[in-house]
Amino acid sequence: MSKNSFVIAVYVENKYGVLTRVTSMFTRRGFNIDTLTVGETEDPNYSRITISLSNEKTDRAQLINQLKKLYNVKKVEVISPDMAIKRELMLIKVKNSPDTRAEIRDTASVFRAKIIDYSADAMCLEITGDTNKIDAFIDNMKPFGIIEMCRTGIVALERGPESMLSK
């Protein structure tokens, strides 16, 4: 992930329509989301929305204040860059041919990507890592012909023994 972005974790009540409320605030106040992931947490009452945003374009204090005002939002935390462990997952489908097969395999093994589906014409690979690594992998796959790809966006945790929810 580039230096120009930051990640926030938003804990919200695990209820119908809450994601809309959060994202609608972003639209209305003109905040631009780079990536967004949502999922359950250790406490089933809360979901966690992990959002990455560009640093330059975002008034961070205003964003956090506005998020905190939303009724269903329990907690908002900026993940401090030095403490953050950030990962993304990508599935990518590339063209497969006898000439390129070996090279794709080699590249995959350098990046520790897994081949998860295989046919004579196409290969499907899975890769996890930080954003830079995934970007680099895409660049390496381009010459083979990318058929389709899909990235999850960033999930992130802070190092250390605590849970953000109980912090």
């Binding site: 605030m25 205003q62 204040n65 009724y71």
Partner: protein
């Protein structure tokens, strides 16, 4: 007690101390209306002419009474007609509960007859909203909605109730009225920092807004000003919180603010913002706004701190608590140089000739006739600004005007609501354009014999827009000359209200004295010139150094 959802709605409102609600019936709220009928001795329902009028009435009721205003409407068009009223309450932080019916759960999502996703539509203009899936959640949802509406920074909350939930039954246990959550207490360190900034300041200025009105902070503001020799100004939303007779109060700020007030804030070296968001209309170019002054901002809503202008100290807390502690902590000061500067500005203001013209005189005349606790409502346009500038507000919370949204058509509904909220005669100043938007509520006023006197400044134009066209669009009057043939006196009479015609100060005073002493609604059509201007004027995005004060801008 096992009650139906519709019964629960009415019982919960009564339990929460709601005595008056405004609304309009329809298919998906007919069960609730049935219960209102059966309980008409316990809760009063005012039938408006249009849901927008009902929403503005709930808004006006809340502003005048300080309580939560409640509006009820049916699904589909009933609900969408509320939207402007809800947005208006949102931008002015007015506590409001909007209840809508919706099609039964089984029909939701199928584009059924009069089905509208009103929680979706109102998402960005409510503090929060709820869709009630189950009757078991209904009572608590309504209670929570009321709590949210009045807690912290107030605002509108909408509760959408599908029809099957209104018919379903469950156990109802009545509860106490919900307490509003106030702001957090002031932080001593912030108070100390503010006190030291004041100690260093030579030209302190207190600038307050609607937040100070909601908190009732007027007396504390005056006390602080006395102690530190500061002068006071307010945003349009702050009007009536500090009486104009207070010598330190210089009046309104902003695009059409009072001359001395705007100039004094521009010259000050410390601005203490109290419950005010430094909106663009009030500050002009926010990046150039009072660049030389340090700024303190005190607001119950932390998201307001530094949102529009950069500040040196922000405190998100209960305003009154902060001011009380600050008055205690701060050293008294005397600043004769500052006083001399202000006196000079006041002198300059008094010399300007643009204060003497018919609508200004009419506003001043009303000011002298009515009791100080009279609610003064307005619509939006030049007439609104003239009232803001020339009315001598002495009673707290007597200014009922649409600030943030600037909603033409707000006046009629709001004035009716304000009469209910205050239990007294309200005076509405409106314009021929604005009145045209919701004059149907005259029917409501007549039906309920609402004590309301309407002063219509009839210039035959959309005066405020025309003024911009005069100043910035080369006098090309595109679509602002109304050319209507409406006879407003005959119109008032046809609705059943008493009408008066006036065209100069004498005839106006006479008409007003009579109109004000009647029982029900009255309307005075005052003909005024179409080329009058609201002055001074700061250019949109301009600064207070260069105001338009006559034909020319200041150098």
């Amino acid at each position: 007690m096992r009650l139906s959802g519709a019964e629960i709605v009415v019982e919960t409102l009564i339990e929460q101390g709601i005595k008056t609600i405004f609304g309009y019936p329809g298919g998906t709220v007919i069960d609730i209306y049935d219960q209102l009928y059966r309980n008409s001795d316990r809760i009063e329902h005012i039938l408006a002419a249009h849901e927008q009028g009902a929403a503005h009435a709930a808004d006006g009721y809340a502003r005048a009474s300080g309580e939560v205003g409640v509006v009820l409407a049916t699904s589909g068009p009933g609900a969408t007609n509320l939207v402007t009223g809800i947005a208006n309450a949102y931008l002015d932080s007015v506590p409001m509960l909007a209840i809508t019916g919706n099609v039964p759960n089984s029909l939701i999502g199928r584009d059924s007859f009069q089905e509208i996703d009103i929680t979706g539509i109102t998402l960005p203009i409510t503090k929060h909203n709820f869709f009630v899936h189950r009757v078991e959640d209904l009572a608590d949802t309504l209670r929570e909605a009321i709590r949210i509406a009045k807690s912290g920074r107030p605002g509108p909350v909408l509760v959408d109730i599908p029809k099957d939930v209104q018919g379903a039954k469950c156990e109802f246990i009545s509860a106490k009225p919900v307490e509003k959550k106030g702001g957090v207490p002031a932080d001593d360190a912030d108070v100390a920092k503010a006190a030291s900034m004041i100690a260093e300041a030579g030209r302190p200025f207190i600038y307050f807004g609607g937040g100070a009105v909601r908190a009732g902070a007027g007396e504390l503001i005056a006390k602080l000003a006395d102690k530190i020799d500061a002068y006071i100004g307010c945003s349009m939303m702050g009007l009536s919180e500090v009486p104009v007779s207070n010598k330190r109060f210089l009046g309104m700020q902003g695009m059409h603010g009072h001359y001395a007030s705007s100039k004094a804030m521009a010259k000050s070296d410390l601005i203490i913002g109290v419950g005010v968001r430094f909106s663009d209309r009030a500050t002009g170019n926010t990046s150039k706004f009072s660049a030389g002054a340090r700024k303190i901002q005190i607001d119950i809503d932390s998201a307001e701190l530094g949102k529009n202008v950069d500040i040196n100290l922000g405190a998100a807390c209960d305003i009154c608590d902060f001011l009380t502690k600050l008055i205690d902590k701060v050293e008294a000061k005397q600043l004769p140089n500052w006083e001399a500067k202000i006196e000079k500005l006041k002198g300059q203001e008094a010399e300007q000739e643009f204060t003497d013209f018919l609508p200004a005189d009419a506003v001043r005349a009303v000011s002298e006739i009515v009791t100080p606790d009279t609610e003064i409502a307005t619509d939006v346009g030049q007439h609104q600004m003239w009232v803001a500038q020339y009315f001598g507000f002495e009673g707290k919370r007597t200014w009922i005007s649409s600030g943030g949204l600037g909603t033409m058509g707000f006046g009629m509904g709001a004035a009716i609501g304000s009469s209910y909220g205050s239990g007294k005669r309200t005076v509405l100043f409106t314009g021929d354009g604005s009145f045209g938007m919701n004059l149907n509520e005259l029917a409501t006023a007549v039906t309920y014999n609402v004590p309301l006197t309407i002063v219509l400044f009839n210039n035959g134009v959309l005066g405020m827009v025309r003024q911009w066209q005069t100043l910035f669009y080369d006098k090309k009057y595109s679509n602002t000359t109304l050319n209507r043939k409406t006879d407003f006196v005959a119109l008032a009479e046809s609705f059943g209200a008493k009408g008066y015609r006036a065209n100069d100060l004498e005839s106006f005073k006479k008409a007003f004295a009579d109109a004000y002493s009647q029982e029900g609604p009255t309307l005075i059509d005052l003909t005024i010139d179409k080329d009058l201007k609201v002055l001074p004027m700061m250019r949109p995005g301009g600064t207070f150094d260069k105001l338009i004060i006559g034909e020319e801008a200041e150098e």
